[in-house]
Symmetry: C2
Subunit: 341 residues, 2 copies
């Protein structure tokens, strides 16, 4: 398989991106990498070109670029050229740690959508924080690719999310939940009421019903389906609240007496574990599901280890023919829908 | 002023409700209380009837009752009779710690809406958690009274929320933010894009623009306007994440060695402070803004102290003629809108 990598995206690019690619190359000898970036910068940090082809790009899309405009104007950027490689079938997937909006735009406008999927959704992986300390994760889809969704699109996210959880996470029959403002089936907005009906009507889906945002971190489902606006709001609330809570703890300790400071010192290893559990990057990158190939975004602050983990995640999608399964599932659904008309 | 109190709503009703009312009665001699509940139960916990009239009710709406049905069928319940007292102008406000949905339904169907306000919104108060340990709060509106909102309604929430912050919190020129999926003005759903335009066009509003859910706890605004579906999702995410984070800390400490356990012991006062800061009940009850009178819900687990704080909050609304100001603001806006047509 071939993976197109944007070597210039991310806070520590190209150094950590290239280092991560080399780690992955050393571990998986069936992957060829197309590394897009400023050749002189990339060559300075690349040790060994085995299974790695560097493609020179004169431009870089940065975090401040307006996504759609950047995709249209910066034709010689590492991101656009990486996406073009997927479009021309020279690569099977695209991976970037750069501008999320620009990567989504490249996914939609250059890589393209699977036939029958109007609005690809962004799938993120979040931690499950159980009281007994056991650890797991769940997927949230759409976590922000769209600002407005239709019920049919939420139903498609249930199908796509299920296939993702089966392919990449090896869950045989993933529990699918619908993010809603109450657990009872009669609760919801016009959108979620209709989506609930559509998902519930599909016997092949292991539907656990509505899930409230208050409960998502306790692990009621493996895949949480949401419209992109609310999914994004919940994702960012979780990030912000976890951060604010840790800040309050820090400030309380700073203001407390020497006993409390000593106590905090003794708890240092426990706090390091907590930080690691809350760290989303360990769970891999966000994936634009519904695009014709894996379009994968890892955190801007990714280091080589995160890059390696994300490449592993992409390899799982390709090894399990996830995209072909998507196309089949959507085609079957569309056929049924049309024959019902 | 007269306040109608549902003595039977809440986990510790009627004992803590009655105790809280007595505390408020002792503190404010200008409030008369109408206490609705099972008279024999209420009389058992009531010490002194000064300024308190007990009205016997044979029924109680509990947490499992379906809200609208309960309001329609349980005509002799403490909640319905308290709302009827507001409707007939025998009371100026209604207060309950019971079934939120039923109180909202009573507010909409019995107390009624201010003319020109199609969808009253629920205003909640949340803590601002700053890194330097200083403490404040902000209001979120609508935090869940509605599942579907229109742009015009979000604009009305900006007007109502501003008057609330001025009346109850004494903020002269409250900063109004709009909950959105990006900070730039061009970001958003169809709903938030349109609402943004309407709020920004009103020069009298101190509009700070879009606010992402990731930042709300850092205090970017005094009033955060949201549609009820997303507002509810963000409110519950914050609750759930704070709880999950504290659970992870607990479980990490339980699994850690004796040194860490000793450390945790030393940090006990700091953790108690953190819990207090995160506790929303100290900030008062949730208010249905847009109803003809204050309709106020405090947490189900409220004790006498919370009941007292919430009655104080209601007194501020009445003392500052908040409802008359609402009616004027809405009338002025509707006149302008009509003259523009």
């Amino acid at each position: 398989m071939k993976i197109a990598v944007d070597a210039m995206g991310g806070d520590y690019a190209p150094k950590e991106i290239v280092a991560g690619v080399e780690l992955a190359r050393d571990q998986f000898n069936d992957i060829e990498f197309l590394l897009f970036g400023k050749k002189d910068e990339v060559m300075q940090v690349l040790n060994d070109e085995t299974n790695i082809t560097v493609i020179d790009c004169s431009e870089v899309i940065d975090m401040n670029d307006e996504p759609v405009r950047a995709i249209r104007r910066k034709k010689d950027s590492s991101l656009v050229k990486a996406a073009m490689a997927v479009k021309s079938h020279d690569a099977d997937a695209i991976f970037s740690c750069g501008n999320t909006g620009a990567l989504l735009a490249a996914g939609l406008l250059i890589v393209g959508r699977i036939k029958g999927i109007a609005r690809p959704g962004l799938l993120s992986t979040l931690p499950v924080l159980t009281a007994d300390g056991t650890q797991a994760s769940f997927n949230l889809l759409d976590s922000g690719a769209n600002a407005d969704n239709k019920p049919e699109q939420l139903y498609q996210y249930a199908l796509l999310g299920r296939l993702y959880a089966q392919s990449v996470r090896g869950i045989e029959n993933p529990r699918i939940g619908l993010l809603n403002n109450g657990t009872e089936p009669h609760k919801g907005s016009k959108l979620t009421l209709e989506a609930h009906k559509m998902i519930a009507a599909d016997d092949t889906i292991n539907f656990v019903g509505n899930v409230e945002s208050r409960d998502v971190l306790t692990g009621p489902c493996d895949v949480l389906v949401a419209d992109g606006f609310t999914g994004n709001a919940v994702l960012k609330s979780i990030e912000g609240t976890a951060k604010a809570t840790m800040n309050v703890i820090k400030s309380e300790i700073m203001q407390a007496g020497p006993m409390a400071k000593l106590g905090a010192l003794m708890l240092k290893p426990a706090f390091a574990n907590i930080k690691a559990k809350m760290d989303q990057s360990q769970y891999g990158g966000a994936v634009l599901l519904g695009a014709k190939a894996p379009v994968v975004k890892a955190h801007g602050a990714s280091d080589a280890k995160t890059v390696l983990a994300t490449i592993k995640q992409i390899k799982e999608m390709i090894d399990h023919d996830m995209l072909q399964k998507f196309e089949q599932a959507v085609a079957v659904h569309n056929e049924q829908t049309n024959s019902n008309d």
